[in-house]
């Protein structure tokens, strides 16, 4: 991959990676770090990474960074999400998008990851399985649970509101 191709990747994928990371980690600084880290790793391997597979490489890197972070947090016995619980603050959630965002924050790390890969990037189940090193059946179940949870979450919040 040439320098020009690398820079093209930055223009094409930096924002998408950032949105994906931000949705998953819920922290602006951390999301930026993940994106920078992913591109640094790409730059280190710029000679060997196939340009046609750069997108997968970048997303896989961010996914791995998130998994590593989740593991570290688990070791520290901390919850994955420190975002405020919208159930305790219903007045903040005033529209469906906000409800969805809050609901996504309630998902488990892996559910949130596969759902954002699915909806943000339109990855197939097979591709998500490869990126996250899960089986296709696991991906299917995680997405089902995530959507069911969100659906119920929206319904409950609308009832409360």
């Amino acid at each position: 991959m040439t320098v020009q191709q690398y820079n093209q990747c930055v223009k094409e994928f930096a924002d998408r990676l950032y949105r994906f990371a931000l949705k998953n980690v819920g922290d602006v600084d951390l999301a930026q770090d993940f994106v920078q880290d992913a591109f640094e790793r790409l730059w280190m391997k710029v000679d060997t990474v196939d340009y046609n597979r750069v997108k997968s490489y970048l997303f896989r890197t961010v996914v791995n960074l998130q998994i590593d972070r989740a593991r570290r947090q688990n070791l520290q016995n901390q919850h994955l999400s420190t975002l405020p619980n919208p159930v305790q603050d219903p007045g903040v959630a005033h529209d469906v998008k906000k409800l969805i965002d809050d609901g996504v924050a309630q998902l488990t790390e892996i559910q949130r990851m596969v759902l954002t890969l699915r909806d943000f990037e339109g990855y197939s189940y097979q591709e998500i399985a490869e990126l996250t090193e899960l089986s296709v059946d696991q991906v299917k179940v995680y997405i089902f649970r995530a959507r069911r949870f969100l659906k119920q979450y929206i319904g409950k919040m609308e009832v409360l509101i």
Binding site: A14, V104, K140, R145, L160
Partner: protein, 344 residues
């Protein structure tokens, strides 16, 4: 609609008792529309979640729901499973037929709409703050160590082997293992071939163990003992002993008194006479290693030094001793060469 847990429990009990009023029934149904999983999970509540307009379909759907293949092992209302499966495009033909029966079902459509709402949409206005941080200008400079190492290792191996052959070729184990014996070096005259043959025969007759020298050997010997050059072409037979060079009296009687020139030279050979080849080997060893009988360690160390100076890469060696076998490990920069040596 919002119900507290106590209100919901009251309605459940009333339903089970059959004392549910029309108003309470409407309240419960409205609540279950938003929480269909409660209707499905609690026995006897599923009918309540189905709109009265489709009451005829209920018995059929209840049995069909049992056969829904999608997300079979997962908990959840059949509506949710069908709606999510449909949204994800995963429904089998059989499941799709069941879903088709619910096409006009208001409850199912509501669930389906809610599932559609769960789709996440990226915020296109969000973006990485500064892409310039990620852009690169300089070309990548990296060394392909694999090919480099291959070339270097090949060159080093060739050089090492050449050095071994050049410097240690004479230290043939067959020669070294020969018993040391007295030898005589004969410089043959080239003036007359016939005369030379006669001389050779005569010398061999006198001493069967005589070694006839070649010109090359003579030059080497002269190099080791410059005094021989002064003796000139008349010197025909030289006896090499411990530390002495002795010209045989019968051939050059007039200069035997001048012999023992080498006595003043310090030499490693003190006691036993040796073969010409062994003598040359020892002189070579003195030149190379500084001692006539270098130890293996001395040889390896010198070899490493020569390699380092000639190749220009750091060379090291070590000997790993085992029970019956030693392992020589040469480290030529990034390359490691190992050689086993059976201990005698």
């Amino acid at each position: 609609m919002k119900l507290t847990e106590a209100q919901f429990a009251h309605l459940v009990v009333a339903h089970q008792d059959g004392t549910l009023s029309n108003e309470e029934k409407a309240t419960l149904e409205a609540y279950l529309l938003h929480n269909p999983e409660l209707a499905f999970d609690l026995e006897g509540y599923a009918p309540l979640s189905l709109p009265t307009s489709h009451i005829d379909l209920k018995p059929m759907l209840r049995s069909e729901f049992e056969n829904i293949a999608i997300y079979q092992s997962e908990n959840g209302h059949p509506y949710e499973k069908l709606a999510i499966g449909s949204f994800e495009g995963l429904l089998s033909n059989e499941d799709a037929k069941i879903e088709a029966l619910l096409d006009s079902d208001a409850s199912y459509l509501q669930v389906k709409a809610q599932i559609h709402q769960t789709q996440l949409h990226p915020d296109d206005e969000l973006g990485f703050p500064d892409n310039n941080l990620l852009l690169k200008n300089a070309p990548v400079r990296s060394i392909n160590w694999k090919s480099y190492a291959t070339i270097v290792s090949s060159a080093a191996a060739v050089i090492l082997v050449s050095l071994l052959i050049a410097k240690f070729g004479s230290t043939d184990s067959r020669l070294m293992s020969k018993p040391i014996k007295q030898a005589q070096l004969v410089k043959t005259k080239k003036s007359s071939a016939q005369n030379e043959i006669v001389q050779i025969n005569q010398i061999k007759k006198e001493d069967p163990q005589t070694i006839l020298s070649t010109d090359q050997e003579w030059q080497l010997l002269s190099y080791a003992y410059p005094q021989l050059l002064e003796l000139g072409p008349d010197t025909q037979k030289v006896l090499v002993t411990q530390s002495n060079l002795v010209l045989t009296e019968e051939i050059t009687p007039e200069i035997t008194s001048n012999i023992n020139l080498a006595q003043s030279n310090s030499s490693a050979f003190h006691k036993e006479p040796i073969t010409m080849k062994a003598f040359l080997i020892q002189k070579t060893n003195e030149r190379l290693f500084g001692t006539a009988k270098p130890s293996s360690e001395n040889k390896l160390e010198t070899l490493a030094r020569y390699a380092k100076e000639s190749v220009g890469i750091p060379v090291a060696y070590k000997v790993e001793e085992a029970q019956n076998q030693d392992k020589l490990v040469f480290q030529l920069g990034p390359i490691t060469i190992e050689k086993s040596r059976t201990r005698k």
